[in-house]
């Protein structure tokens, strides 16, 4: 009880801080200098229609590389933690319904295709590597639900993940030598705004991110599914 009161009292102070921030907040009428730069220059400089994507993949590419690495780390650690609890696969479980199994066979390729579509078009439309990657992972999830005993090749997943990661870093370094700096997308021709093959390396990078993120989420899910029920 005391704990709750103390928690409430502390959070009251935080509430006060937040309330002050809230009341002091006035929406901008004009874009600030940074946003203005992006609005004015993205199309011309980077050739990307989706400005958010341009920021994520190029302007703040280092953040995104870190972000991908966060997932990489999380997947690696989840694997590390759960490795000890991998269950013995001899134990049988009740079979899953026929409907789910068939549905899965039908749905999985479509989901994978959708995921790929989302990240390939990241520079044009909403969505990109992360969203696409999550969609790909959902296909894996579906397969796991259909067949809980399915054993995914960690080797394959981690090979995809690693290759995508290495290529990502390599493209970044290529930017150092071929263009203006690390992760500069202008190592490839910018093309015409709005076309699929435009925006330099952005579609390539976002695709790699998509593959990598998909592999990372899949790896986490697979690791979790292989744990033994206590």
């Amino acid at each position: 009880m005391v704990k709750r009161l103390v928690a409430l009292a502390l959070l009251a102070v935080f509430g006060l801080v937040f309330a002050t921030l809230l009341t002091g907040y006035a929406p901008d009428a004009e874009l600030n200098q940074t946003a203005r730069y992006y609005a004015e220059r993205t199309a011309a400089d980077l050739g990307a229609a989706n400005i958010v994507t341009a920021i994520i993949v190029t302007y703040r590419g280092l953040d995104t590389l870190g972000e991908v690495t966060v997932l990489f780390l999380a997947a690696a650690i989840v694997g590390l933690v759960l490795a000890e609890g991998a269950h013995d696969r001899s134990r049988m479980r009740p079979p899953v319904g026929e409907l789910l199994t068939t549905g899965t066979r039908f749905l999985v390729p479509m989901i994978l295709l959708l995921g790929a579509y989302v990240f390939v078009n990241g520079h044009l439309t909403p969505g990109g590597g992360f969203q696409g990657g999550a969609i790909i992972a959902s296909a894996v999830l579906l397969m796991l639900l259909a067949d809980p005993l399915r054993h995914f090749s960690h080797r394959l997943i981690s090979a995809i993940e690693s290759l995508a990661g290495i290529l990502y870093v390599a493209i970044g370094i290529a930017g150092l030598f071929l263009a203006g700096g690390f992760l500069d997308n202008r190592i490839l021709p910018l093309g015409n705004l709005g076309e699929l093959a435009s925006a330099g390396a952005i579609p390539l990078i976002y695709s790699l991110i998509g593959l990598k993120v998909g592999a990372e989420f899949s790896s986490m899910l697979a690791s979790l599914s292989e744990t033994e029920e206590p």
Partner: protein, 1050 residues
């Protein structure tokens, strides 16, 4: 040619991803990739470091995405960044080596996590973008969460979870702060935000700052960190403490730049509270890694204070903060790696280290670096920091810093004492590949010491010849003791021959004692066999400190020498069999005294006219010691007080004396005379210097010199009084030293010519007879195997030379004719006649006869009376111990006959300061205004009287009846404690009844109470950390609220 810093990040990431391509079974290859990548990252950073250090180039901005900041993330590489990156990458490399076994067992995923951790730390240092900072922080959090799991300790899992809980709170606050900061400034670039100032978004900035501050593990929001420190793999704990804390501090510094000067007090406040609390809480710790964790928190706090004080540190900022930070990082990494070799987790288990002297050296290097002792960077940094604080009048902060540092030194040296003195059931397990990181830390520590010496713009302590000579003995540890001993004697003698002409007569006397006096005592050291590892570096460091003290003309040199002699003597004292607690109290009192001296110098420097030429980095005002004389009111008396107490700690004035008896009595046979006969003089020298330069001072109407006079008198009385009640012969001598130093202090405080002359007489005499007595008693104790006097007796026939030495020593000391002690007394009484204060003299007069009592007891119970059965086959003490005693006998007689040999020149020298009342030296007669003294005549008279009495006694004793050993009537009972029936037990029981109340251990109880109080405070504080991760989250929120409220109040 240097390589783009981005390659550091790319290499770390690329290697991490690459390990994923490898087969699960190719862990060896993955490990090689990991090491290779870390080595490459280290090399690139080191290349930058060399570039910046060599050329002094400006920091370089590195764009990403081919777009200038603030529109794309930019990195910056400068001197500080390069140094930190080198530190981080090397720490990562060595951590990987240290954890090699674990990494290979856990596979490539673990290696990838380690690589990402190091990469993220580098990124945290390099980035100039606030949100990018957040991303790297999160990477570090997650990587930490992974690396914690590498521990064999199952509890590490819960520690990691506690960390994740708190970091969730932290990241929420950080994100909210960042986005509102962005909204207010329209940029995420740190420099861009700093340009606009935080005024427009103070609240958001507060959230950012407090979130980054929380990563520094400030008190009390740090329970999770302690749990990680305690339970993580030591290889990782090293990385966590050395690299992660350093990077977080740097990030905090970057973020603080946005807020500007008005936020500096927040950093200072958080820092000093963490520093003091961390150290206090470490005090009751018994787990080594947790203790190191508390120390890490404290050290981060200290660096945070430096960060918070950057407005007054000016161009010294990097020197100070960098020195503290690198010292801490290297030392802490080394200590954590060392802890990997120690099987048990109790502090006492570190005794196992003694099996490998090299590891002990690494241990002591780490401790010295953490304590800020010379010649390590922390020492220089502390000197500058304290001076700049004093210069601004921030004395309270200065006081807290010194207090915290003293507590820290206390628990660190207590730990070191355990390692040297306790027994461990474990053996040490150190495969070569895990020793390499420790050696690297050891070498880095000394290299940093050298670098900071060069940067300090003062004399580099590691280039000073006497210290180098002392340190050279570290390389000679393989050699036999006799060889090292010969070198030591040769070195001291040679040093004297080379330099004696440079000194004025007063210093020359001290020089003779410090060098030749030391050399004579070293003759006794020939008795030791084997290699005597650790003895010579320690002893020679002490002697180096003492000669440097005489050489020093400026305050820095003086203080550095003072610390050197303190450390050296501590190691010497610690060597004694039972000396562990006494050595600890010695080092704590000595460092306490040293800190008072430091504070005194710093305060003086703020107002003294500086005469020192400005050096390379334009050092903080170091001043010529002589210019203490120019100090004006109201600073002068305070400086005087601080310095006087500091010096009196070394001379063991009453109240500050409790360390001395144990330290001197428990030391080895040849060490006791070194620390008693020689080392105590360093304190007297300090007092001489102080009084010569500052003269009389008064504070609130109290004449401070008069106060010293009283302290001297009381010390003399009580020291002697306590000496007569000792059962232990060496303790008796030790207490007698307290009394003797009281005399000397009294003489100095008389502030007249003869008083000073007498103090100098005491300097010489005390050296000679106390060294002699300690040697002879030490020789007896060595032969009999005991120091209790009632267990001895009748040794006169078996150890005649020791007896003669004792007898001569006693005659000299008690101040009866004909030996030099009388000369001392004669001058002394003349001096008293000169002075205006008569009351303390009564005390001094009283203590004379008391001294005679304990001396009588010494000779009576050891050499006279009946021989014990078990002692019948004893031989005289070894020649090496007897020889110096005989030399002393010769010196005593020489000085007694020709006191003018030395004193005349000193007498003339003192006239410069105190012209009145000089002695008149004519031929063999010395005349004062109260009478005359002819030593030769007295010698002859006394010799005649002695011969007459001796002859008469021989005549009378012809018919004396000899009492046989068993000619004693026993009653039937055997007493419970047989010694109580011995006549030599409680020898002066009647006096004890009469005066015992004076020697109640009030002072011991007082200091004991203080120690208990500190321990209790530490224990109470520890209860905050009840192990519940949720409560730790409360701590964090409370911390935020408290800082918020106090910031509102400001």
């Amino acid at each position: 040619m240097v390589i783009n810093a981005l390659h550091i990040l790319a290499t770390g990431l690329g290697a991490a991803f690459l390990t994923g391509l490898l087969d699960e079974k190719r862990n060896g290859l993955a490990f090689m990739i990991t090491l290779g990548a870390l080595a490459f990252m280290s090399a690139v950073s080191a290349g930058w470091l060399v570039l910046f250090a060599a050329t002094g180039a400006h920091p370089m901005d590195i764009q990403t995405a081919g777009t200038p900041p603030p529109f794309a993330i930019a990195l910056r590489m400068g001197l500080a960044e390069a140094a930190l990156l080198t530190l981080i990458n090397l720490a990562g490399l060595f951590a990987a080596m240290h954890m090699g076994e674990t990494l290979l067992a856990r596979g490539r995923r673990a290696m990838a996590v380690l690589l990402v951790m190091v990469m993220a730390l580098c990124g945290l240092v390099l980035t100039r973008d606030l949100f990018n900072l957040f991303v790297f922080f999160e990477l570090i959090v997650i990587a930490t969460g992974g690396l914690v799991l590498l521990s064999d300790d199952e509890r590490a899992v819960s520690a990691g979870f506690k960390y994740l809980i708190v970091s969730q709170f932290i990241s929420v606050l950080l994100l909210v702060g960042i986005v509102f900061g962005y909204h207010a400034t329209g940029t995420l670039n740190i420099d861009g935000m700093a340009e606009q100032g935080s005024g427009a978004f103070a609240l958001a900035f507060f959230l950012i700052l407090i979130a980054v501050a929380a990563e520094l593990k400030p008190f009390p929001a740090n329970g999770w960190a302690l749990d990680i420190y305690e339970s993580a793999h030591p290889g990782f704990a090293a990385l966590f403490s050395a690299a992660a804390a350093s990077a977080a501090l740097f990030a905090f510094d970057k973020v603080l730049a946005i807020g500007g000067a008005e936020w500096l007090p927040v950093a200072t406040g958080i820092g000093i509270v963490s520093f003091v609390a961390g150290n206090l809480l470490a005090l009751p710790q018994t787990n080594d890694r947790r203790l190191l964790g508390y120390s890490s928190i404290a050290q981060s706090g200290l660096i945070l204070v430096a960060i918070g004080q950057q407005d007054i540190l000016g161009e010294h900022y990097l020197f100070i903060a960098g020195g503290l930070l690198l010292s801490h990082a290297v030392a802490k990494a080394g200590l954590y790696w060392l802890s990997g070799f120690v099987a048990g987790r109790e502090l006492t288990d570190w005794a196992a280290l003694r099996q490998r002297p090299l590891l002990v050296l690494a241990f002591v290097t780490g401790i010295a670096m953490l304590s800020g002792l010379p010649p390590f960077p922390g020492f220089y940094a502390k000197w500058e920091l304290v001076h700049l604080l004093a210069n601004e009048g921030r004395l309270a902060l200065l006081g807290w810093i010194l207090f915290g540092a003293l507590v820290e030194a206390g628990y660190l040296f207590r730990w070191f004492g355990y390692a040297i003195k306790r027994e461990s059931a474990h053996t040490i397990d150190c495969p070569p590949d895990r020793v390499i990181p420790v050696i690297a830390a050891l070498l880095a520590g000394w290299a940093l010491g050298f670098a900071w010496g060069e940067l300090s713009g003062r004399s580099n302590l590691l280039l000073v010849l006497p210290l180098l000579f002392a340190l050279a003995f570290l390389l000679l540890e393989w050699a036999p003791a006799w060889l090292k001993n010969t070198l030591a004697i040769g070195g001291l003698s040679l040093y004297f021959l080379q330099t004696w002409q440079d000194y004025d007569p007063l210093r020359l006397i001290f020089l003779v004692i410090f060098t030749l006096g030391g050399a004579i005592i070293f003759l006794a050291s020939f008795h030791a066999h084997g290699r005597r590892i650790g003895f010579y570096p320690s002893a020679m460091t002490m002697f180096a400190g003492m000669v440097l003290l005489l050489q020093a003309t400026d305050s820095f040199g003086f203080f550095a020498a003072w610390e050197l002699l303190t450390i050296g003597s501590y190691f010497l004292i610690l060597r004694g069999k039972e000396s562990e607690p006494h050595a600890l109290s010695y080092i704590v009192f000595s460092l306490g005294g040293a800190f008072l001296i430091l504070a005194g110098f710093a305060i003086a420097a703020a107002s003294v006219v500086t005469l020192a030429p400005s050096g390379a980095v334009s050092p903080a005002p170091t001043f010529e010691i002589a210019s203490l004389a120019t100090l004006a009111q109201p600073v002068a008396p305070w400086v005087f007080l601080l310095l006087a107490i500091g010096f009196m700690t070394k001379t063991a004035a009453i109240g500050l004396h409790i360390w001395l008896p144990g330290a001197h009595a428990e030391a080895e046979t040849d060490v006791s005379p070194m620390v008693s006969g020689v080392l105590l003089k360093a304190g007297l020298y300090g007092l001489f210097v102080l009084l010569m330069s500052m003269g009389r001072q008064s504070l609130y109407g109290v004449d401070l010199v008069n106060l010293m006079l009283w302290i001297g008198a009381i010390t003399a009385l009580l020291g002697n009084l306590m000496a007569i009640f000792q059962e232990d012969a060496k303790r008796l001598l030790a207490y007698s030293s307290i009394g003797q130093m009281g005399y000397a202090l009294f003489g100095l405080a008389l502030m007249n010519h003869l008083g000073w002359l007498m103090a100098l007489m005491f300097v010489i005499n005390h050296y000679v007879y106390k060294s002699m007595l300690f040697l002879s008693v030490g020789g007896v104790a060595k032969r009999t195997g005991t120091r209790a006097m009632y267990q001895m007796g009748g040794l006169i026939t078996l150890m005649p030379l020791s007896f003669i030495a004792t007898l001569v020593g006693i005659i000299a000391m008690s101040g009866v004719p004909p030996l030099s002690g009388f000369g001392g007394r004669w001058i002394f009484y003349n001096a008293i006649m000169d002075a205006d204060t008569r009351l303390p003299m009564v005390l001094i007069f009283l203590s004379g006869p008391i001294a005679f009592l304990y001396l009588f007891r010494l000779i009576h119970t050891i050499f006279l009376g009946q021989l014990k059965d078990e002692h019948r086959r004893l031989k005289e003490a070894p020649l090496s111990i007897v020889l110096p005693q005989m030399i002393y006998v010769a010196i005593l007689i020489g000085v007694a006959i020709f006191p003018g040999l030395i004193l005349r020149r000193v007498d003339a020298y003192i006239s410069q300061f105190l012209p009145d009342g000089a002695l008149n030296w004519e031929g063999l007669t010395i005349t004062s205004q109260y009478g005359w003294w002819n030593p030769v005549a007295i010698m002859i008279v006394v010799a005649c009287i002695f011969l007459l009495i001796f002859g008469w006694l021989l005549f009378v004793n012809r018919k004396a009846q000899k009492v046989k050993q068993f000619n004693i009537v026993f009653s039937a009972e055997r007493p419970y404690r047989p010694e109580t029936t011995h006549f030599a037990w409680n020898f002066f029981a009647p006096y004890k009844k009469a005066m015992g109340f004076l020697v109640q251990p009030f002072v011991t109880r007082f200091w004991g109470a203080i120690t208990d109080l500190l321990h209790t405070a530490g224990d109470l504080g520890r209860r905050l950390y009840n192990g519940n991760g949720q409560i730790y989250a409360f701590h964090f929120l409370i911390f935020v609220v408290v800082v918020f409220v106090s910031q509102l109040g400001m």
